[in-house]
Amino acid sequence: MVLVLALGDLHVPHRAADLPPKFKSMLVPGKIQHIICTGNLCIKEIHDYLKTICPDLHIVRGEFDEDARYPENKTLTIGQFKLGLCHGHQVIPWGDLDSLAMLQRQLGVDILVTGHTHQFTAYKHEGGVVINPGSATGAYSSINQDVNPSFVLMDIDGFRAVVYVYELIDGEVKVDKIEFKKPPTSNSAP
């Protein structure tokens, strides 16, 4: 059982003061094995904070990130899954699932994690899964009018991934879950 925290688009301090206190109390150091972040933190303070939750931190560059050294995209393998990470402002039209699926083919991954739209989505297609953890702070987005703070926790176990999405709606944390199985003989990501 490997826990992977996926979050991004915090936009601190431009668009939000901080993560919601209810989220902060849930993100306890030592429980999570990997963090994948879609970008737009934007400042070093947030980078350092995420590192205290889990030292294995993978970040890609959002268009407002202060640190220009983050890569445009990244891939990593967890369990039997290949994961791809990209902020998403590079893929036009923004939020278009078919175009994101193309990026998924380019990166050759089973699970693609992107952000930019501040809208949680989990899109399953024959080539794999596209997940958008939304904005962890519920930051303003010109793309999306109603943004609720959200993040995703993935529990990866061999060929099985359970995706938990946590959303803060009207002051309450709501959880939903989706399951994905990767067929052992699949060539989805040669």
Binding site: D18, I92, Y140, A189
Partner: protein
């Protein structure tokens, strides 16, 4: 009996002995030994003796201890609070302190401040609802400070910070501290560095307690208190602050902006106007921290504006979208000179999207113009250009507000920029991204198959010329990869049924890729091609209209 007999006699003895060490020790004994209720009842007498003691006795500590004991007494026994009021403990202590300070003319400022600090803490514990008492204490403190000019004693400064922090900690609500009229006056006496420290303390209190500051008036008062962070005050050369510290301070000011909020749009507009006034005095180093959150607050305000039709005042209302967009322009245009052109560029595009949602065509066009000018004049780094262009194309793709002419001008410019990027692969990708500018799913007026095909063909040409030039990079920069990416785009539009993207064009592109000799040695391109073919297979198996489309492609 204690009050009438014991205490007066004891005090007489103490005063008469005129030995400062004995006096100090004995007074302290009285305070520590006798119970607090006694002290309450005999405050007059006890305090009356204090000015009569030798000047070198540390009255400061004696009185502080007394006040501390009484504070704790009140804290632990809520029922005795009425007694405090009954014996007018506060005013007696206040007067006593005043007399002591008067009696010792050259008492160091540290002692005076410590006394008032203890008295304030006493007041906060015993009479938390009497803000006027707290204000009085601060007032007396101000009077003391006014005689001495700027303070140079660091211990005294620390004590003042402690004095000012006490109400914040007690009430956990900066708004209450803002009601103490003498509070800002005390802050005035701090040196600039301490003003900044105090400002940080105040902001931290707000953030920790999630306090919302809701009126323009309170915002003005707050900004006055933290002005050490907002601008350079009277330092002629600007401040010499450690860079990391400066960044942290400014970031906390930025976070603070999100706590200044009111549901009422008129009040909110007043708030952002005040912020603008103060932030624009901040000087170039601060703008890049303070302007972005202000822009975002303003954009959020636009979303809350009543729709034109619903507003009974129509365009005469003082807060209209137009006015706010003007406001936005004014604050963003300060940025390029900072210099922060990248930031300004991004903010202009954000505003353009907001204008798009409000159906304000000329305003959206103006924002795009500003963004384009910045792109042309200020963004010259190749990597920065690639990202900037992605933002331009991405934003423009979502605009539905433009009429044909304006849209043509902007898309023409965007495709032009794309073709002029430095590296061929970047050019190619930007150009095929532009194809999306000519096909908006939900807007039939913005669906031009010819232009889509034109972009894709142009992208192919660029990929071709990259190949000819022998700049055959491998992997993701290789020209074969570019062909395959373009194929994916062909499929995207083919699936939508655009007539100009014919089966033949798709098939010939597939054939071209298959014939590529360099493929076997390029695993990246090979696997991308394989997954593309697999994608086509999946789509075929979907059946229905999509399945039929893909059925027609002969691979």
């Amino acid at each position: 009996m204690y009050r009438d007999t014991v205490l007066p006699r004891v005090l007489e003895q103490i005063v008469n002995c005129r030995d400062e060490i004995a006096q100090y020790y004995l007074i302290d004994c009285i305070i520590q030994v006798f119970p607090d209720e006694y002290h309450l009842q005999t405050l007059d007498v006890l305090l009356g003796a204090c000015p009569q003691l030798q000047p070198s006795v540390d009255i400061m500590t004696v009185l502080s201890r007394l006040m501390e004991r009484l504070s704790n007494y009140a804290a632990l026994n809520a029922e005795v609070l009425p007694y405090f009021l009954q014996v007018e403990a506060f005013s007696k202590l206040n007067n006593a302190i005043g007399k002591v300070i008067e009696a010792q003319e050259d008492m160091p400022i540290l002692s005076a401040v410590t006394l008032y600090s203890s008295l304030l803490k006493f007041t906060l514990h015993v009479h938390p609802d009497r803000l006027d008492y707290a204000d009085q204490v601060l007032g007396s403190c101000v009077k003391q400070l006014s005689g001495k000019g700027k303070i140079n004693d660091t211990r005294a400064t620390r004590e003042i910070v402690s004095l000012l922090s006490a109400p914040l900690e007690k009430y956990n609500d900066v708004v209450i501290a803002l009601k103490l009229t003498n509070y800002p006056l005390v802050v005035e006496y701090l040196d600039n560095e301490t003003k900044r420290i105090m400002a940080t303390v105040i902001i931290r209190s707000i953030m920790k307690n999630n306090t919302l500051i809701t009126t323009a008036e309170k915002v003005e008062a707050l900004l006055e208190l933290i002005k050490g962070l907002i601008n350079d005050l009277d330092e002629p050369q600007g401040l010499e602050v450690d860079e990391d510290d400066f960044e942290e301070e400014q970031n906390s000011v930025a976070r603070l902006v999100h706590m200044l909020y009111n549901d009422d749009t008129e009040e909110m507009f007043k708030i952002i106007s005040i912020l603008k006034k103060h932030f624009l005095t901040g000087g170039p180093k601060r703008l890049k921290f303070t302007i972005p959150p202000l822009v975002v607050s303003t954009l959020k305000l636009i979303r809350r504006l009543p729709v034109e039709g619903d507003n009974p005042f129509g365009k005469e209302a003082s807060v209209t979208a137009t006015k706010i967009f003007q406001f936005l322009n004014q604050i963003i245009e300060a940025l390029p000179n900072v210099p922060s052109p990248d930031l300004a560029f991004r903010l202009y595009l954000q505003c353009a999207e907001a204008a798009n949602k409000c159906d304000e065509e000329p305003i959206a066009y103006e924002f795009f113009t500003q963004a384009y000018i910045l792109y042309e004049e200020e963004i010259s780094d190749s990597k920065a250009q690639v990202t900037a262009l992605q933002l331009i194309i991405g934003t423009l793709q979502r605009m539905h507000v433009f009429g044909v002419e304006n849209r043509d001008t902007l898309t023409h410019k965007a495709t032009g920029y794309s073709a002029k990027l430095l590296k061929k692969p970047d050019q190619c990708r930007a150009v095929y991204a532009c194809s999306h500018l000519f096909w908006l799913e939900d807007h039939e007026t913005i669906q031009d198959g010819d232009r889509v095909l034109l972009c894709l063909k142009r992208a192919l040409k660029i990929a071709n010329s990259a190949q000819q030039m022998g700049s055959n990079g491998q992997g993701s920069a290789g020209s074969v990869t570019l062909f395959i990416e373009i194929l994916n785009k062909y499929l995207y539009f083919y699936e939508k049924g655009i007539p100009q993207i014919t089966v033949e064009s798709v098939e010939s592109l597939i054939q071209l890729i298959k014939n590529e000799e360099s493929m076997p040695s390029d695993p990246y391109a090979e696997s991308l091609f394989a997954s593309t073919l697999q994608f086509m297979e999946f789509q075929k198996q979907k059946g229905g209209a999509i399945g039929d489309r893909y059925e027609e492609i002969k691979v």
